[in-house]
């Protein structure tokens, strides 16, 4: 366990450093600036004097290297700088968004697992059957729709037509507001999981030890629960990890559509307003989340697969 963690951490530092550098570089060549972004709809053209003071305040006139050095220096002590837009510390900005973001991602992943894994299982147990074909077409269809479109359709159906759920927003952060965005976000990992699970189960069902289990006189349900599930899970868990880890970044579109106050919508907004410190912070968080989930997955492997535990 510990070695896995240590090895992970050793990898995280250079990864984070590289990401900080990449984002810094990308945004230093980005046209437009926070100041030009303030002029929306022709309103509030900023006059040159104010612009100059703003640039100074934000340190935009310093050489890139110097700015980068400063940023990294602050980063080392956990200071992500201040947002250009709100002037608040980026850590606070992100802190406000973290919980809603996590909630959405967790709910979406839960949806994906609860629907996707059984769907793949059922399909795999009767390969070539109508059930198999139907569940796979359903799954692949879920992969073939633009997310914002799916989200809009869900809004129309569940909010406007059926009046079952609120159409947008965070509300009290409860389940009613969470459901629609979570489904919109969860459909594509659900589809991928269904597909992976099906392949994994088929794979395991053809394994020698399943034949052994059958030769023991085990009923098919027992074969599945005693010997297939766990082994299939090892294969599925990689997909779960990759999907889960990247979900916070994928949530961008859904959060924007549903006005969900997550990190993704903050990120997009910050990109368009050239609020570089906020962008940096969001991307760092998303990457950290990805790394954290994958570390968890590694640990899960250790727990599930004895071959890794003793290796």
């Amino acid at each position: 366990m510990l070695t896995v963690l240590v090895r992970r951490l050793a990898n995280v530092i250079p990864t984070l450093f590289a990401i900080v550098a990449v984002v810094f570089l990308l945004f230093s060549v980005l046209p437009g600036s926070f100041i030009s972004a303030m002029n929306e709809d022709g309103r509030g053209m900023i006059d040159p004097a104010v612009m100059e003071r703003m640039r100074k305040e934000m340190g935009l006139d310093d050489p890139l290297i110097e700015r980068f050095g400063k940023y990294v220096g602050h980063l080392a002590i956990g200071d992500l700088g201040n947002s250009f837009r709100t002037k608040e510390p980026v850590t606070k900005l992100i802190g406000d968004r973290l919980w809603p973001s996590l909630k959405l991602v967790l709910a979406a992943m839960l949806f994906a697992i609860v629907i996707g894994v059984p769907l793949g299982f059922i399909a795999a147990l009767k390969p070539g059957s109508v059930t198999d074909a139907t569940s796979m077409v359903v799954a692949i269809s879920g992969l073939s729709l633009p997310k914002f479109w799916l989200g809009l359709m869900l809004m129309y159906l569940f909010a406007l037509q059926l009046k079952l759920l609120p159409s947008f927003g965070y509300g009290d952060g409860g389940l009613t507001h969470l459901t629609l965005p979570a489904i919109a976000l969860g459909v594509s990992p659900m589809a991928l999981l269904a597909r992976t699970t099906r392949a994994a189960v088929l794979d395991v069902l053809n394994a020698d030890f399943v034949r052994t289990a059958r030769s023991k006189g085990m009923s098919e349900p027992r074969v599945v629960t005693w010997h297939v599930m766990r082994n299939a899970l090892v294969l599925v868990i990689t997909t779960i990890g990759l999907q889960f880890g990247s979900l916070m970044g994928q949530a961008v579109v859904v959060e924007k559509l549903f006005a969900w106050p997550g990190v993704g919508s903050l990120l997009v907004d910050s990109v368009f307003q050239r609020d570089v410190p906020a962008v940096q912070g969001c991307i760092l968080l998303i990457v950290l989340f990805f790394l954290a989930i994958n570390t968890l997955i590694d640990l899960a492997y250790v727990a599930i697969d004895p071959r890794i535990r003793y290796a």
């Binding site: 002037k87 947008f168 965070y170 006005a259 907004d269």
Partner: protein, 531 residues
């Protein structure tokens, strides 16, 4: 003169009607107003001085108040925090008698010191507060901005409720100090730090909660200085940048107001129920295709006029903008007191356009790059519509797509041949026209680099004129010159449309920005689904 006066009266009547019709019932106390913030997926800053965004203005106007406010019924600036103001003979010194019944949300009474503090804060030399451009009109403000002085010399406290303000130019300070981001803030709260997270003001509503990216919740200020107001107990601003999502939420009665785009404007107008709750106003934005007169063909006035003739502006407004705009006749919008109704729009006349081009030495037309954003009302869709029209007279426009963010940069740096955009053109008409005055630097706003001695002469005269009526006349004249010179293709003045639920009353048709509501006048009747 008379015609202008009549025009204003007619306009005021028209604009005021929607609001008027709602005032017949007695306002109900209590309830919750649920407005929407359509501009972007988050708030910028709740510190009123730190932002110039329209979205932030919605909240700012509820929590804070500047010296003046906008009277939507009469389309003019009026005193808000003062009972009277007396200008000096030379029009440079204004003496304000402040109200003595104004309390900040922390219970302290507002005095002249707070006004001085607020304006001094805006000029802070280490911070780039966007509203510095307004306060700079006060004498001595620039020195503070440059760090050469600690206090603004033009602000003098006579007593707690009397303030003397000396200006640098002969202008109406109301145009400057009705802006949300010149609001008066309490020093002690600002100095606690983190003012943006815990804003304290003197407006009708008290800050309660901000869930970034989702909503701002405000509660009734029981000690508001206007007796009996505000009516509602709570105000919620839901942040919703996605128009289709807003549409669903509005139809689902989850929000009380919603800004409409052209497509939804048509749909709502056609709906028997929804059409009852539509508030329209001619906003002070002029949408135009701006020519860079450094680019050779556009140096010739005839070319610029030719383009104005070549585009079937009315058709575009009717079909593409779905009548959610008023045809622009010159630069100043219809809500400006200097607006001249008599100006005839450029007729759609491709033949005349061709003739003008020929006269200008371009019988076969020419090619230019047209920079545009993706904005649905003043961006790419419009460009797509004018391309074939220009092609008909031999002009080939090559669209170049940029983000809205980049558009401003492109404009101010002059890195364009022509661009299409939206321009704030009010309420100070003189300041608006300054953008065509040849002594204004490009980086300030003279993006066309347009210069005309004739215009300069009239503009200078207008700026120097003491008599308001005569000044208005001169401004109108300058505006007319501009129209003939055509430094831009005059497209339209925005018609802002706000849909509201039937239980919402007292909304104002604010021509400076329709989402900016003086919420103390808004009330909710018992049909509202929220308590």
């Amino acid at each position: 003169m008379r015609t202008i006066g009549l025009a204003i009266a007619a306009l005021a009547l028209f604009v005021g009607m929607a609001a008027e019709a709602q005032q017949t019932q007695t306002p109900r106390k209590g309830g919750t107003i649920r407005m929407t913030g359509p501009y972007g997926a988050s708030m910028g800053s709740l510190d009123p001085h730190a932002t110039s965004r329209a979205q932030d203005g919605i909240v700012s106007l509820a929590i804070h108040r500047p010296l003046y406010s906008w009277d939507s019924t009469n389309n003019k600036v009026v005193l808000e925090l003062a009972t009277s103001v007396t200008p000096s003979e030379d029009g440079l010194v204004y003496t304000f008698k402040l109200r003595d019944d104004i309390f900040f949300h922390n219970g302290r009474k507002m005095t002249a010191d707070d006004v001085i503090y607020s304006f001094t804060r805006i000029m802070d030399s280490t911070k780039g507060y966007p509203s510095a451009r307004y306060v700079r009109v006060i004498k001595g403000a620039v020195e503070v901005e440059k760090g050469q002085a600690k206090e603004i010399s033009g602000l003098k406290k006579i007593d707690d409720f009397t303030l003397e303000m000396t200006l640098t130019d002969r202008v109406n300070p109301g145009y400057y100090f009705f802006q949300n981001n010149t609001a008066i803030v309490p020093k002690e709260e600002v100095e606690k730090g983190n003012f943006a997270a815990n804003p304290v003001g003197l407006g009708p509503f008290v800050f309660k909660e901000h869930i970034p990216g989702s909503r701002v919740v405000l509660e009734r200020n029981p000690k508001f200085y206007k007796a009996g107001k505000p009516y509602a107990d709570r105000m919620i601003l839901q942040i919703m940048s996605e128009a289709p999502a807003r549409d669903v939420a509005f139809r689902n009665k989850e929000i009380d107001t919603s800004i409409l785009g052209p497509a939804q404007y048509v749909a709502y107008r056609a709906d028997p129920e929804l059409s009852k709750g539509i508030l329209e106003v001619a906003e002070m934005f002029t949408r135009a295709l701006t020519f860079n007169t450094e680019h050779k063909p556009f140096q010739d006035k005839r070319v610029r006029q030719a383009i104005n003739h070549a585009i079937d502006t009315d058709l575009i407004i009717k079909r593409l903008v779905k009548d959610k705009a008023y045809r622009a006749t010159s630069w100043l919008p219809s809500s400006s007191p200097a607006y001249d109704k008599a100006l005839k729009p450029y007729a759609y006349d491709p033949d005349k356009a061709k003739a003008l081009l020929k006269a200008a030495g371009y019988p076969d037309g020419f090619e230019f790059e047209l920079t545009t954003s993706q904005n649905e009302s003043w961006g790419l869709p419009i460009v797509e519509a004018i391309l074939p029209m220009l092609a008909k007279v031999g002009i080939k426009a090559k669209p170049k797509l940029v983000e809205v963010t980049v558009l401003t940069d492109v404009a101010l740096k002059g890195e364009f041949q022509a661009y299409i955009g939206s321009n704030l053109t009010g309420p100070d008409s003189l300041a608006t026209l300054r953008c065509f005055y040849s002594k204004t630097p490009r980086s300030a706003c003279r993006v066309t680099l347009f210069s005309s001695p004739e215009f300069d002469k009239v503009f200078e005269a207008a700026a120097a004129e003491v008599n308001p009526a005569k000044q208005l006349e001169l401004i109108a004249k300058a505006n007319a010159i501009l129209y003939d010179e055509a430094p831009v293709w005059f497209f339209n003045y925005n018609k802002a449309v706000l849909a509201y639920q039937p239980w919402i009353h007292g909304l104002q048709a604010n021509a400076t920005e329709i989402t900016h509501q003086y919420v103390e006048d808004v009330w909710v009747d018992e049909r509202s689904p929220v308590k």
